[in-house]
Symmetry: C2
Subunit: 147 residues, 2 copies
């Protein structure tokens, strides 16, 4: 039966089964360095297993080295430029570029420019045990990796 598997909560029938979300209707989280605009997560629809969020990162700001122990992730750049690290590799990502990351792989996104970075992130599964994100930016070698 659906909804009883491990890591899968019972569907919340008070939430809509499906949902249109304009940018203005997203759920906003504001941080000093960036804002998150949530289009889809388990508290927005009845029974999803995918997170979908848009992130606007201010110039010269970052989401420093971290990993998601249980979630795979896809990034997609809408506008701006990302200095994107995966383990010890760095690539510059432009609009239309994407990155797939399996769960547990260390990565970081740095907006090393004067322009806002606007990108989408997909994470799955939406529900799992333990922390969603683990910060490793103060640990070596990650702390000293960027020139």
């Amino acid at each position: 039966m659906r909804g009883t598997a491990k890591n899968r909560a019972m569907p919340d029938s008070s939430l809509p089964a499906w949902r249109f979300v304009t940018f203005e209707e997203t759920i906003v989280e504001t941080f000093p360095n960036k804002s998150h605009f949530w289009y889809n997560r388990p508290d927005m629809v009845r029974d999803t297993n995918v997170l979908f969020v848009r992130c606007k990162m201010k110039p010269w700001q970052a989401h420093k080295f971290h990993h998601h122990p249980n979630m795979e992730e896809i990034l997609y750049v809408l506008s701006g430029t990302a200095e994107q690290w995966v383990e010890r590799e760095c690539r510059i990502m432009k609009p239309g570029d994407s990155l797939y990351l399996p769960a547990g792989l260390i990565h970081g996104t740095y907006n090393n420019s004067a322009e806002e970075l606007d990108f989408l992130a997909v994470l799955a599964p939406a529900k799992s045990e333990g922390p969603g994100t683990v910060d490793v930016s103060e640990e070596e070698p990650w702390k000293s990796l960027r020139p």
Copy 2:
């Protein structure tokens, strides 16, 4: 053990664990009415459970009423305008608008404009038994629903 669960193939170690994909590096499928540009699917990386594809739909073309029996889906409009149907409801989607759909729900995307429609689609899980898509556009009430 990972990889042995139902609907989950063994990871293919000949594929990369993670992958950067520029638009030029996507895998392209060309149809008369649209083109698909694949950023992520199980034959591109070792062990993903998410499909990520960009679709460019020509003016006055459509992906008529259909459903995905086993996959939830998220749509996100990059440019152009979508006349988006979910069951009997229709909304006009603009850039920055999104739609979440659970598995099995009937929907259709119509580019009822002279401009190309460019959008992203996320589908999960990537691997399941049976057909990925079931076309119902020749069945009532869907066949006669649009004015």
